[in-house]
């Protein structure tokens, strides 16, 4: 493989990982915007997506597409249960305490997954063929195309939902001013529940589309969760373009760093970026400074 095709290879795999990070980041942003909570159980939804799909495939013998839909529904239900059982009962509590609760929930979900499915690593079959395609000398799996396509679709639906639907607007209104939203008749509790459901659904989709490439196990949520968190921090907690760019940037740097420096630094790169952003531009790379009213 010559230098240029190597570069294309790194860029392609970086972008596809980055797309996944962006989706996971969306989950963080949607819940954070609706509630002010950083949901550190977000990575577990990602894990659940992949694990549920594998479980359904092997035990129920359903076709892959049906298994995926069912897995997304189950993960969404877990998200809803999580909100009902762990978040809503504690309504007059500081966001920081809720953040700690989400860490507890993530440990709980991971532990339960380990008990139920064991510690083995599982592979999900690719959505379509396993024959690689060649682009400028780099190999690309059809699964990469699925990742790009599905990510793009989710981004578009997400954008349409929050910009144009009344329900999406109501959710945004809660994010900007929950107090005022309740006074025009928006049920903030429902919006919070919905934000958990949507985040769980998007997170589980991310987990499902990446599982054929990277395999999955009960503990993949930790690292993927952190990467998604990093993407959303770069994107300034937006559930829009900023986080998409943040995810892609992180994926690219990771893949180039692993390729040209050392593969053992792959995960360290995410942490370095996370720390740099938090030190230097905690409002995110792409966010404009709030304009002050004169």
């Amino acid at each position: 493989m010559d230098n240029s095709s190597q570069l294309v290879q790194y860029v392609l795999s970086g972008l596809s990982n980055g797309a996944i990070y962006a989706l996971i980041g969306f989950g963080f942003a949607i819940i954070h915007n609706a509630t002010g909570i950083l949901n550190f159980a977000q990575g577990e939804f990602v894990m659940l997506g992949g694990m549920f799909t594998i479980f359904i495939l092997s035990f129920l013998n359903l076709p892959l597409a049906a298994a995926i839909v069912l897995a997304i529904i189950l993960s969404t239900l877990v998200g809803i249960l999580f909100e009902r059982l762990a978040i809503r009962p504690l309504k007059n509590i500081k966001p920081l305490s809720l953040v700690i609760i989400t860490i507890g929930a993530s440990i709980f979900i991971r532990g339960a997954a380990m008990l139920i499915w064991g510690k083995d690593t599982h592979a999900l079959p690719a959505f379509s063929s396993n024959n690689p395609l060649y682009v400028y000398g780099a190999t690309i799996m059809p699964q990469h195309l699925w990742i790009f396509g599905i990510t793009l679709l989710i981004i578009i639906v997400n954008k349409l939902f929050f910009s144009y639907s009344i329900l999406g607007k109501a959710m945004r209104a809660c994010a900007y001013n929950a107090h005022a939203a309740s006074l025009v008749g928006i049920d903030v509790k429902i919006m919070v529940l919905l934000s958990f459901a949507v985040s769980a659904a998007i997170g589980s989709m991310a987990g499902i589309i990446i599982a054929p490439l990277t395999m999955t196990s009960y503990d993949v949520g930790i690292m993927l969760g952190i990467k998604g968190f990093c993407a959303v921090i770069i994107g300034g907690m937006s559930s829009g373009l900023g986080t998409v760019l943040g995810g892609l940037l992180l994926g690219l740097l990771e893949s180039l760093g692993a390729g040209y420096i050392s593969a053992s630094y792959k995960d360290a790169i995410a942490f370095i970026i996370l720390l740099l952003i938090l030190f230097i531009r905690p409002e995110g790379l792409f966010k404009q400074k709030e304009t002050q009213r004169v």
């Binding site: 939902f161 109501a170 209104a173 006074l183 025009v184 008749g185």
Partner: protein, 250 residues
Amino acid sequence: MFKVEGITQIFGGLTALEDVSFSVAPRSITGIIGPNGAGKTTLFNIVTGLYTQTKGQVYLGGKNISFFEPEILARLGLVRTFQNVELFGQMSVLENVMVGLHTKSKSGIFSCAFKLPGQIKEEKIVRIKAQQWLEFTGLADSADVAACNLPFGKGRLLEISRAMAVEPQIILMDEPAAGLNSRETAGLAELIRKIQALGTTIILVEHDMELVMDVCESIVVLNLGKKLAHGTPREIQENKAVIAAYLGED
């Protein structure tokens, strides 16, 4: 008809409101006045479900709404505006009003999330209605501006537009004239009358006496958490106890 009965609010050892009762005729404009710390905003916060009163009841149209959550109250037709304008800052002026129409949208959460054609039609209707409310308050020109970039006076109008989009029976306004210049205040008086003409009951807490005496048909005076007087503007202006409370005479 709107009625509060025996409202008492105790914060720790401090009695912010003590046994306050009054009723408001439908489609009337009532002013609540009183020196700072009289308990006016506390009363608003109780009525709109933000505080839970120590004692007392609130009725709207014969229904006891004492301990309802704010969003339920809004759906029953009771809305408010704030002294410090509270908007959805990053959303456009039009979108702010559209959110106010959220409760009026017919399709439930799931039908509207999944049925695209119905969703598009609904969004169109809501957009048109929101536009009409902006014309009603005179904000139509600013429809696409982000709410956080509006000058203060227009922000206040937007808050009123958003509240009116709920098509309330009763609207409570907390110091609507605060921070407005005299021209804007005159416009506000006219808008308040237009809101009344729609059949909406209005209650305002206000320090601008000129505005209160101009638009209000009845006035409730609070002082140190107690109701001091309730009457027409003329009666209130002549009430000795009220004059004493304002001027500090014995």
